[in-house]
């Protein structure tokens, strides 16, 4: 059975003033499934809709249409936000220093979680539980007791944030750019944690990122998003090693490789305004696609199944 099903999820925002109101489809008919104990990457650049999807899964944004189904239950049918999260959904955010209120001690969030979700009866039991979760991320309660967010390094705080999310024993963790604000030298300690959570605790992770190198390293499957659409879905091996969609290729080739032998050779032309691409009829990538054809500008491509990978591109039509 699928742990999480996203069915035709769409979110439309209105933008602009009274006279020139335009509609931006931040997420356009997005569907994907997740199995238990799987790391699924949602990749793309800023403004591609990946964070909107995360917020809708968490119930922080209401979808314009479509469904989020977790363990067979539809989000719309659950009475409130807390009950939805109690089903086993938690999240980790991008900026560890923004995750916690700078004026409050970090441990307060742990005790509040325990109190609100009734995870322990006594203070000792609560501390024991906190210690258990912190040890999973390589920390102890004493490291955290009585301290404020700015007394930690970014890497430490992000691990604390992960420990907090584990308190309720979730089976689904939404990680929105969890390492982009963490120093490169400490990044892998966070990324490795997600692997450990999957392998040891059976937690599924929606790993949202623009960094395809860590996505390749950590995840099982990947969906690449562009301007609200998923353009390619499949196993990371297939999608990242042999990209089918021209956008996936561009994105992958634009990651600077930490190897002086693999420098960028060809130059690229940068795209037009974000808004133009959102409003484009036909394929949204047509404006800067190297393989663009006439049909791309007229008709939005359908999802095709090519070699076990789902691609949204006219190029593969009839092959």
């Amino acid at each position: 059975m699928n742990l999480l099903e996203i069915k035709n999820l769409t979110k439309v925002y209105s933008q602009g003033g009274l006279l020139s109101r335009i509609k931006i489809t931040a997420a356009d008919n997005v569907s994907f499934n997740m199995k238990p104990a799987e790391i699924f990457t949602l990749a793309g650049e800023s403004g591609c809709g990946k964070s909107t999807i995360a917020k809708m899964i968490l119930g922080f944004e209401t979808p314009t249409s479509g469904h989020v189904i977790h363990k067979g239950k539809k989000q719309k049918e659950i009475r409130n936000r807390k009950a939805w999260l109690e089903q086993g959904i938690q999240a980790v955010f991008q900026d560890p220093f923004g995750t916690f209120n700078p004026l409050r001690q970090v441990e307060r969030y742990f005790f509040e979680s325990i109190q609100n979700f009734k995870l322990a009866d006594t203070k000792d039991a609560a501390i024991e539980l906190i210690n258990k979760k912190l040890s999973a991320v390589g920390l102890k309660y004493e490291d955290m007791a009585g301290r404020y967010p700015n007394e930690f390094s970014g890497g430490q705080l992000q691990r604390i944030s992960i420990a907090r999310s584990l308190l309720t024993d979730p089976d689904l963790l939404i990680a929105d750019e969890p390492v982009s604000m963490v120093d490169a030298s400490l990044r892998m300690s966070i990324v490795n944690l997600f692997k450990q959570l999957r392998d040891e605790y059976g937690v599924s992770v929606v790993y949202i990122t623009h960094d395809l190198a860590t996505a390749y390293y950590v995840s099982d499957r990947i969906a690449v998003m562009f301007r609200g659409n998923i353009v390619e879905t499949g196993s990371v091996e297939k999608v990242l090693m042999e990209p089918k969609h021209p956008y996936t290729r561009l994105l992958r080739d634009s990651i600077p490789q930490a190897d002086p032998q693999k420098k960028w050779k060809d130059t690229i032309t940068l795209g037009e305004l974000e808004q133009d691409e959102f409003l484009r009829a036909g394929c949204k990538f047509a404006g800067r696609c190297p393989d663009v054809m006439d049909i791309c500008r007229q008709k939005a491509p359908e999802v095709l199944n090519v070699d076990g990978v789902q691609v949204r591109c006219h190029k593969w039509n009839g092959i």
Binding site: S185, L186, M188, N192, Y217, M241, D259, K263, W264, L270
Partner: protein, 325 residues
């Protein structure tokens, strides 16, 4: 030929907080020798003093940052000039014409309420002697064209451009007076990967065309691998290793550099990567001896007692580690 040199440069933040004095050793004895016509990369984690070093190199040491000791020497027309001997007026003159600066957030240099062509004009008028308005616009247009930016950007306000476009305009502005040195502080950090590639590409084009020097600070080793000729690895206010890019990536000596390089994931390779253990030290409470000793698996004996000096282990490859000494 050396274009910029520092000798045992030290600059600390001296803070007085509610009666307790605090010294943050942001730049703690740095020797640099940056050549003409190279891209010199400085890498390090946040809080290691990279930005303070850049500010110092730019001659912009302002309280609470204080110059403690050491020299910064610019090579202006084959003549060594000590930056600290110059008057404020003289350093200001050098800016943009000899050395220019690309900050991380491009919004801070572009005036949000004027069109970019006005910014260009103000800027050129104060630096280029007596030119008519049309000539100046012509110059700006030519410049923008050469860098492959669309003409209409000149008519736009900064907020109308995307982050990547703004950052490219900032780079274009920094390059317009053909400075000998361009300092770039994390110029691509907030940008998307594709845009980042465009910005790095532009930096490279600028450098090729002007034959000048770029000092690039970023924590992204991938960017360094792509653009830098030489790299200095900075840790806790010091340069701990310096070599050409191939050597840094191919044969790093310092344990910190090794961790840094080995922690980077690569396509097609799923083998386990490990982070640098522990956390960076805070610059006001440095450990005795080598600053890296609490995180170093090889630390022993003198690592805890004395600070290792930079030594040259190979041609142009310098390391500050007792293992190599």
């Amino acid at each position: 030929m050396t274009i910029l040199k520092t000798e045992q440069l030290r600059a600390y933040y001296v803070l007085d907080m509610m009666g307790t004095k605090k010294e943050v050793k942001a730049v703690n004895g740095i020797d640099l020798d940056i050549k003409k016509n190279e891209v010199y990369g400085i890498a390090g984690e946040s809080g290691c003093g990279k930005s303070s070093l850049l500010k110092s190199l730019y001659g912009l040491i302002e309280p609470p940052l204080r110059h403690i000791d050491g020299k910064i020497l610019y090579n202006i027309n084959e003549e060594e000039v000590d930056v600290f001997s110059l008057s404020q007026e003289e350093t200001r003159k050098l800016r943009w014409e000899y050395i220019s600066y690309v900050p991380q957030g491009s919004m801070s240099v572009l005036n949000p309420v004027t069109r970019l062509e006005e910014t260009y004009r103000d800027f050129l008028e104060s630096h280029v002697p007596a030119k008519s308005k049309n000539e100046i616009f012509e110059l700006a247009r030519e410049h923008i064209n050469k860098l492959g930016l669309p003409q209409k950007t000149l008519k736009a306000y900064p907020h109308q451009l995307s982050g990547g476009m703004r950052q490219r305009v900032t780079i274009a502005l920094a390059a317009i007076l053909k400075p000998e040195i361009i300092i770039a502080d994390e110029p691509t950090t907030a940008l998307d990967v594709v845009v980042q590639r465009g910005v790095v590409q532009l930096l490279k084009e600028v450098q090729n065309e002007l034959n000048n020097t770029i000092i690039l600070v970023t924590h992204d080793m991938g960017v360094h691998a792509n653009i830098a000729d030489r790299i200095g690895i900075m840790y806790a206010g010091k340069i701990v290793e310096e070599a050409d890019t191939e050597t840094i990536f191919g044969a790093p000596k310092h344990p910190y550099t090794r961790y840094l390089i080995n922690s980077l994931p690569q396509f097609g390779d799923k083998s386990v990567r490990k982070s640098v253990p522990g956390s960076p030290p805070s610059l006001d409470k440095l450990p005795d001896g080598c600053s890296f000793n609490p995180r170093c698996p090889h630390a022993k004996g003198r690592c805890f007692e004395r600070v290792p000096e930079m030594v040259e282990v190979n041609n142009g490859h310098r390391v500050a580690c007792w293992m190599e000494n």
